[in-house]
Amino acid sequence: MGLQAIFFYLFAFIAVASAFMVISAKNPVHSVLFLILVFFNSAGLFLLTGAEFLAMILLVVYIGAVAVLFLFVVMMLDIDFAELRSGVLQYAPVGILIGLIVAAELIVVIGGSVLTPDAARSITMPIPNPTVRTNTAALGDVLYTNYVYFFQIAGLVLLVAMIGAIVLTLRHRTNIKRQDISKQVARTPATAVEVVKVKPGQGV
């Protein structure tokens, strides 16, 4: 138990410290890199609770895909740091308000589980024994049976978002040269080569 506690505090401390660095770092690219560190340590916390599947999915989806795109966008931006710094105080009330809301929600959740420890168990599925059923299989059981419609709808939402992004950026430009692989493959000597008899002194 002692080792687990040490790792918990290690991961938690680094996660909170780098979360602070995300908002206080001067350079936005450094902010994204600290955000990645936060994700990484959260994955470590998931591992400690035994949710190995969620930890790995967090790594693959958030760090491997989402944060790459963040970094991509932030690197390309031409940002004036001084201008970025100047407006901080202006947005402080909104930030404090959001912070208060999150804090209140956290207090409700933690307070609820302290007052009635069995409340969470009554609304969730029974947790299978981890030595018998791995949590990958257990998650699959729940997702593809009880919640299959929600799962499919979530997929549809993502599909709609993807189509929206493609529609917004797609423009058909004329008079540019594109490579058409099927056309190239279908070419034969008969259609591609023309044999011309050139008379001397006249040219083609």
Binding site: E52, L71, Q179, I181
Partner: protein, 347 residues
């Protein structure tokens, strides 16, 4: 105090010793893989390749190592120093960290975890950060272009690699790498009356996925013909332009460790890991590690041959291959495999 020692310290020491042993073997193997790469490339082009240091140039990589270490590391004035030095560290650490779950033989694995293949997939999807960070921190045109190219390329090919892995997992029913190897003990070969043979392995029953995985592996590790992030004829050396001496060596080391990882992953997923190719007593006596190394080296030989034969892809062709050819093909194979397994009752 005694129980503290037996619970934490002793197992911890054993794990450290195992990791160090694996690390040393891996680094020596990488040195010779590098040499083999250059030798094979040279042989295809009718050259001799490195042949001066040691017999047949066998110590060339170690000479290179000394040269890298003793050179002066140069950090460009406009570079973002911290990130510039962190990038090679990230790339080499991630590339080596993945090896913790690779089973080299029966029970020869440092961490035999339930979600082994997901761990490998997750950590190798982080390798792109080494490249992006080095490209950005160099604060120069060519490295940045190389970083942008590699980010798009690696994210694209991860998608098809993911679907290939899903197909294999459907056939196996476990995310554990050791289980994946065991599952290849019976398959097509057993059905045609040649049990425990090379026909049982997944390369035959999932042949299209084997090809897709191999080619996507080339793209994922920035190997030719997909080495656009470091295309020397366009970008000089891409994201590595500004690096010199030890940091450059670490970038190279990370790259080759990732290549070796893809080779051993191909071995585990499709070539039956440490299993012998035929159920004959003589072959069964050979230790599993030998079979594993032989198969991994064979896959690397294919990688090296591809480097020597195939001209570099154009960037739009690379994207077309990833998104318009491999993605639909692998997605269709996932569905077909799932249907076949369900209808035949093998799942």
């Amino acid at each position: 105090m005694d129980s503290f020692f037996s619970i934490y310290v002793w197992p911890g020491l054993i794990m450290v010793a195992q990791s160090l042993l694996l690390l040393v073997c891996l680094l020596v193997f990488i040195a010779y893989i590098l040499l083999a790469d250059r030798k094979i490339w040279a042989a295809v082009q009718l050259r001799r390749g490195p042949n001066v240091v040691g017999p047949f140039g066998l110590f060339q990589s170690f000479a290179d190592l000394l040269k890298f270490v003793f050179k002066e590391p140069i950090i460009p004035a406009g570079a973002n120093k911290g990130v510039f030095l962190l990038a090679p560290l990230v790339s080499v650490t991630l590339a080596l960290a993945t090896w913790a779950v690779i089973p080299l033989n029966e029970n020869w694995v440092i961490a035999n975890i339930n979600v082994g293949i997901l761990y490998v997939f997750a950590i190798s999807s982080l390798e792109v950060y080494g490249i992006i960070m080095s490209g950005w921190a160099s604060n120069s045109k060519y490295p940045f272009l190389g970083a942008l190219r590699s980010a798009a390329q690696m994210v694209s090919y991860e998608v098809s690699i993911g679907f290939v892995i899903v197909t294999v997992l459907l056939c196996v029913g476990s995310l554990n790498l050791t289980d994946i190897v065991y599952a290849q003990k019976d398959g097509l070969g057993t059905m045609v009356g040649l049990p425990n043979s090379f026909l049982d392995w997944h390369w035959l029953s999932l042949f299209p996925m084997f090809v897709i995985f191999f080619i996507s592996g080339l793209a994922e590790t920035n190997r030719p013909p997909f080495d656009l992030p470091e295309a020397e004829s366009e970008l000089v050396a891409g994201y590595m332009v500004e690096y010199s001496s030890a940091p450059y060596m670490m970038l190279m080391l990370g790259e080759y460790a990732a290549i070796l990882l893809i080779c051993s992953l191909t071995t585990i997923l499709f070539l039956g890991g440490w299993l012998p190719p035929l159920d004959i007593a003589v072959l069964n006596w050979v230790p599993g590690i030998i079979w594993f190394v032989l198969k991994g080296s064979f896959v690397f030989f294919l990688f090296a041959m591809v480097k020597a034969f195939v001209p570099r892809y154009r960037y739009d062709q690379l994207m077309r291959l990833g998104w318009k050819v491999f993605l639909p093909l692998s997605l269709a194979m996932v569905i077909i495999a799932a249907f076949v397994l369900k209808l035949a009752g093998w799942a």
